[in-house]
Symmetry: C2
């Protein structure tokens, strides 16, 4: 038998596990990086829209923005391409145990998701119930149902947690990818 | 005959025609607004990515960014959905009469367009030759051909204007929509 020399493992790249699951957005960005690296999908977060008011040029070729403000996004945060299909979604976290308030979704975002849906794209929300530590894919059609009924007499201003349990699609948190939402999309929304 | 009172026309909303065709980006944004309003497509410009370093809170609920810098975009400026298909492109202007320099396309943008192409999306550039005042839709495949050959011996670092005339697709500037690039996409890239 050949005696192999004892080989010390190279130190692994430090991973800060404390950050795992820290924010939904971070987890989705990490998931998208996994999808891209593994040739599964091309999905990116859009930059945060910022209104620039003043720029100075303290050094050559390096513009310094000295006054700017956050703008309300006119669309959703995430979009891209999966198996030739257009994907569009936003991520929402709620501290409520019992429901997701509809005011978490801006009117512009709702209109955008509706447009996407009508033009043949796949539109949804990824919702994190922090108190339950549960994640769901909420298809646009179910969101629309509650959105429309909120304006009716006795219409609810939120989607009950129980409705998520019964009619939305659960999304498991895992190591890598952290939130494999495309497997859910593939199974239920494709 | 009824004698109608002379009715003065309500002053029309001022349109600054001087701005028509001012910048390619503005024209594409106006075209996209037309597409959206007419239920043709859902295509948006992504916000410019900005690295925020310092934020102050001079008034309640109004964060003021006091130090920030422009970042290099990691993808293209425009993407969206047309007849169920994923569309992704960037806009490039050139002052050259004879060619579009390939350095106008960042490496990250090229990689992104390649990913889009490979995942079944429609990837291209809209190129404006300012000296000729001519617009073209340059499909990814033709861009890729020149991109790859630039690293070969005697490889060109640009795409000749004549190649645009012969192998890319002309795009007419018009009143509304200003740059109807989707009619070109529909005809040649769909």
């Amino acid at each position: 038998m050949i005696k192999y020399p004892i080989k010390r493992k190279a130190p692994e790249k430090q991973t800060n596990y404390a950050n795992l699951g820290m924010t939904l957005e971070t987890d989705i960005i990490a998931t998208n990086a996994y999808y891209l690296a593994n040739h599964i999908a091309v999905i990116h977060k859009k930059p945060t829209p910022i209104q620039v008011v003043n720029v100075s040029y303290p050094a050559r070729n390096k513009a310094k923005i000295t006054e700017a403000y956050y703008k309300t996004p006119s669309t959703t945060d995430f979009n891209g391409l999966y198996k030739g299909r257009y994907i569009d979604f936003d991520a929402k976290e709620t501290n409520s145990e019992t429901s997701m308030p509809l005011k978490n979704v801006h009117l512009h975002q709702m209109e955008h998701l509706r447009n996407v849906h009508e033009h043949g794209g796949i539109a949804f929300l990824i919702v994190h119930f922090k108190k339950h530590n549960e994640y769901f894919v909420l298809p646009f059609s179910l969101l629309e149902e509650y959105w429309q009924s909120q304006h009716q007499a006795n219409g609810r201003k939120s989607i009950p947690y129980e409705v998520f349990r019964e009619r939305a699609y659960p999304l498991k948190f895992a190591f890598n990818p952290r939130l494999d939402y495309l497997s859910v999309v593939e199974r239920f929304l494709f």
